[in-house]
Structure formats: C-alpha cells, structure tokens
C-alpha cells in the first residue's frame, strides 16, 4: 500500500515537472516581443529591399525615377551584352581560382599550424591578421606594391634577375585578374586556415593511433582519417567563402575598378558601375540578382549540413 502511494506521488511529481518545464519553454508572447526588433529590422531593411530589387530588375528605373514594368528586358539585354558576359566569365574565373588557392593553401597551413608547439599563439595571431584589418585599406598597400613605376614586387624580381623589365601587373588584363585573385587569397586564407585548424583539433587522437597501428602512413592517415572527418567543416567554410568571394566588391573596386577593359569586373562592381555611376538602377539590380541563385544553392546545402550535424 505504502509503496504504491509513493509510486503514485512520484508519478504525479514527474508529470508536474514535465508540465512545468513545458510551461517554461512555452511563452509565445514573450518570444514574439523579444524577436520583434530583429524581425522588423529584417523585414524593412532586408526583405523589403530585396523585393524592391526584384521590381527594379523588371523595370527601366533610373536614379530618381520609379520606372515602368518592362518584364525580363533587363536580363535579356544583359545576356546579349559583351561586358556582362565578360563579367560572368570573370566571376567564374575569379571565384574558382581564389577558392582553389584558399582551400589548398588553407588546408596545408592548418596542418602545419596544428603541429606547432613553440610560438603557437604568436604564429596563429600573425596568420590571422590579414583577415582582421580593413580590406579597403589593406588593398591600398597591394595597389602600392603593384604600382607601375615603384612596384616593390618588380624591384625584387629585377634585383633577383628573374625579369629584366617592369611587369605591368594592373594594366595588363590577365595579370590584373591574377592580382585581384592574389589579394583575395591573402585576405581569405586565414579564415580557411584557422577554421580548418579548429576542425583538426576536434578530431579524436585515438583514430590516428588506430590508423597508425593498422599500418597507415602519414598520407594514408590524411586521406582516410583527416579528410573524411574534416569534410563537414570544409564544406561549410568552402560554401561560406564561395558566396563572399563571388560577391566581392572592395578588392576589385580599390585595385582595378573592374578594368582594364572590364576584364576584372565582378557582379558587385559591375552592378555598382551600372546602377550608381551611370544611373541605370534597373540594369544594376538585374546584375546583382545573379548572385541570388548561387546564394540560394549555398543556403540549401548549408542548412542540410547544419541539420545533419545537430541531429547526430
């Protein structure tokens, strides 16, 4: 009898605790009140501008004029425009080259940083620095380093007798693309290295020991332990960087303004040139919207990755 009472009381206690904690996580009015500032900010300054941008892209809006609906004319015109097709090609080359460099060098650097014992903090701190300083300002020094007359890069190459004339880094279309890719890599590499390093630290040491006792060498351990376990982190870093590399504005605008001969224009700089400098807001908005499908694809993949990792 007494035992049953205790059991019943305990059961009621459990039910009450459950109801209580259920009550504690359900407070809809408070939740909405707390979220309201963020919600309205995103509604008026992100969602509304996005809709506005869609409208612009379908209209012949110019600076100071609302414009009329013209359907997909802007997009049709862009796809016939040589400059836009060049921009499209530049964007693909720029993003592919910079991402490849950042991934390969970032991985190599992360593996090196992981093994550091002495001066660990100092070296990591130095490596991360390019990512922290203002890009618009640090790009100025790259501009100075590639300046036609006084380029420190040319000075060094000439004094090492690797070349005997000044290399036209920024006036030459192909070298200009090389230069903007280089600066983007300089700025983005720390993000890859430091994040991949955090991923490396999280891999349990036992797995390496197990692989080693199974006779795996350093290369085998890299491909069969490090790479598979680092894949989720690598995917997130890669996709995140893909968006922001493709959407880059600062580096190209400061170094080349899209030139020479539009050979370094990306969506952002071309959209800026069309929309603000020549006042064709409709065309400019249409150009920047080319970023959107890629953004959506990345969001889709990332959300799946995030969900998968929280489920596990």
């Amino acid at each position: 009898m007494a035992d049953e009472d205790v059991a019943r009381l305990a059961a009621r206690g459990d039910a009450e605790t459950a109801r209580l904690s259920d009550f504690l996580v359900r407070d809809t009015p408070v939740a909405y009140a707390f979220i309201a500032p963020a919600f309205f900010l995103l509604l008026f300054l992100v969602a509304y501008p996005f809709v506005l941008s869609l409208w612009f892209s379908l209209s012949d809006a110019r600076v100071g004029e609302t414009g009329n609906f013209i359907g997909l004319d802007n997009f049709a015109r862009l796809l016939r425009s040589g400059i836009f097709l060049q921009t499209l090609q530049n964007s693909i080359v720029f993003t592919a080259a910079a991402l490849t460099l950042k991934t390969v060098l970032g991985m190599a650097l992360a593996l090196l940083l992981f093994r550091l014992v002495r001066f660990k903090r100092l070296i990591r701190g130095a490596i991360l620095l390019p990512f922290i300083v203002p890009t618009a300002l640090s790009t100025l020094v790259w501009w100075w380093m590639f300046e036609p007359l006084y380029s420190v890069v040319n000075w060094t190459l000439k004094n090492l007798h690797l070349v005997n004339h000044d290399i036209p880094w920024l006036p030459d279309p192909y070298l200009a693309m090389f230069t903007v890719v280089l600066v983007n890599t300089w700025r983005g590499l720390p993000f890859f290295a430091i994040t991949l390093l955090a991923g490396l630290v999280a891999i349990p040491r036992e797995l390496y020991e197990a692989a080693e006792s199974d006779g795996a060498g350093p290369v085998g351990r890299f491909w069969h332990v490090t790479v598979p376990l680092l894949k989720p982190v690598l995917a997130v870093v890669f996709l995140f960087s893909a968006i922001f590399t493709l959407a880059d504005f600062n580096i190209v605008y400061v170094l080349t303004k899209g030139g020479p001969m539009n050979m370094t224009h990306l969506f952002a700089t071309y959209s800026f040139a069309l929309g603000l400098q020549s006042g064709q807001i409709g065309q400019g908005a249409a150009v920047s919207l080319f970023l959107f499908p890629i953004l959506l694809a990345v969001v889709f993949v990332q959300l799946r990755l995030v969900r998968k990792s929280t489920d596990l």
Binding site: P49, R124, L128, L137, V141, G199, F244, A268, A285, S288
Partner: protein
C-alpha cells in the same frame, strides 16, 4: 634523450614551411608601415631599397594627413558609427537569440532559418535598393544611414553567434530563477547574460570590426567629405586625379587599421572562437 638531428627536424619540416605563410601574411602590413614613415625623396627613388628606411624616418605623411585632410573627422565618424551599430546590434541580437535558444513558439524555426539566410546575404546584393530606402527615409548623406543599415548584416551574425553560445549554457539555473518569480527579461539579464559574457564580448568585437571595416555602404550612402568614414575617406579623398599621396595613403591605412589591431592583440582568443563558431558548431 633525443639526438640533435631529431630535435632539429621540426625546424625543417615545420617552422621552415610555415615561414612563407607568415611572410605572405605580414609583409604587406610591414610595407604599409615602412612606406608611411619614409621621406618622399627615398620613397620615389627607383634605386633605393624599398624594404628599408635608410635616409631617416619622417612623420611628414602623418602631419599631412592631420593638417591637410579631414582624417580625424573620418576617424571620429567611423568610431561613432561602429559603436552605435555595435550596441544596437548586440542588444537586438541578444533579444532574438534568447527565445530561439530557449523557447518553443510558432514560427520559431522559420525565423531561425530566416536569420541564417540573412547571415549569408552579401551586402553587394542589396546596396542598390537599400540606397533607395535610405533616401526615402531621408537618411542619405548622414551617419544615421550607416547606423541604421549596418545592423542588417550585424544582427544576423550576432544572433547566430549568441544562439550557439546560449545553447551551451545549462538552463537549470534559469528555471530556478523563474520559479522564484523572475520574469523572462530578469532571467535573461541577471542569470543568463553574466554566464554568457564571453559570447557577448565576442559578438561585440566582431560587430565592431565588421562596422569599422565596412566599405560599400559607406561609399554609397554618404558622400560629403566631412561625413565619410575612415575606409572611404582615405581611399577617395587622398587620391586627387592622377596624383597619389602614397605616403599619406599608407599613413591613413596604418592609423585606420590600428584600433582593430589593438583590439585584436588583446582579444585574440575571442576572435578565433568567433571565427570558428559558425563553421565548427
């Protein structure tokens, strides 16, 4: 006991390969500083060694910057905008992250996804329509334009970072406080925030850094020279036609990077944890 050869091995297999990366990262910043301290005669002499200062250090470029340009106005503008945008964004971010981390409510998941999507929206996607919005609000050519628009990328970032941080804090203490009669806001401010201070510092540091470094919105929304921020002012006002004041430009770039570098030296670990929070968690 390790043999000398074994002890020397890391030097060749580890520190030597790291060296080019460190040089690559630091050289431009070193060169920025050297250029800003070098006299024009040496700076524009094609035969002098560009890496060193051999004919004396000068503060002339810094003087030019202080006296002949609105440099310190730009500096103060950047400071005002960054502090204001940071405070606003961290407060809004804390408020939004709390219910997402702790409460179940209709639309909660969708809101979380919306925050995540905006976190990934690059500023270059929306600057054209935003400039129209800023115009209609009557804010263009004022610092308010930036204080109002910077939170559009700072709030999603702060919310996302704090959401991850709040989830690592056990909720039991908060439940006790609520049973003792605290309301939600009191619980958040008195119980959760003191425990989550590192997360808040991290969010604030990143928000400040992102605001200070912002370039596109500042370039588009504010045109009067005296209202420009640091990044835009140095870039657009120190290049007059085809004349480049390289010494002055580099001096501006040095001072413009200084606040961030100082914050960075003191809070290195926060920067590292903030950087990796999104990707690893």
């Amino acid at each position: 006991m390790m043999s000398p050869a074994r002890r020397l091995r890391p030097l060749f297999t580890l520190y030597l390969p790291v060296l080019p990366f460190v040089l690559f990262a630091l050289f431009p910043l070193y060169f920025m500083l050297v250029t800003s301290l070098k006299k024009n005669a040496e700076l524009y002499d094609v035969n002098s060694v560009p890496f060193l200062i051999k004919r004396g250090v000068t503060l002339g470029h810094y003087q030019l910057l202080s006296q002949d340009t609105l440099f310190w106005s730009w500096f103060v503008n950047s400071l005002i905008v960054s502090v204001a945008a940071t405070v606003i964004s961290v407060v809004i971010g804390i408020l939004a992250a709390y219910p997402l981390a702790r409460l179940r409510f209709p639309g909660g998941d969708s809101f979380g996804v919306a925050i995540f999507i905006t976190y990934l929206v690059p500023p270059s996607l929306l600057f054209l329509p935003l400039s129209t919005v800023v115009n209609r609000l009557g804010l263009s050519d004022s610092l308010w334009a930036l204080v109002v628009t910077y939170p559009t990328f700072l709030v999603p970032f702060c919310t996302w970072l704090l959401l991850g941080y709040f989830r690592t804090v056990p909720r039991e203490i908060e439940e006790c406080a609520m049973l003792d009669g605290c309301n939600r806001l009191q619980t958040l401010v008195r119980i959760l925030l003191p425990v989550a201070v590192p997360g808040v510092i991290c969010a604030a540091l990143f928000a400040f850094t992102l605001s200070w470094n912002e370039f596109l919105y500042a370039l588009v929304f504010v045109s009067p020279a005296e209202l420009k921020t640091m990044t835009v002012g140095v870039f657009s006002e120190l290049i007059r036609g085809d004349i480049y004041y390289w010494g002055g430009l580099m001096a501006g770039a040095c001072i413009g990077s200084l606040p961030i570098v100082v914050a960075y030296v003191f809070f290195l670990d926060y920067y590292v944890s903030g950087l990796t929070a999104g990707a690893v968690k």
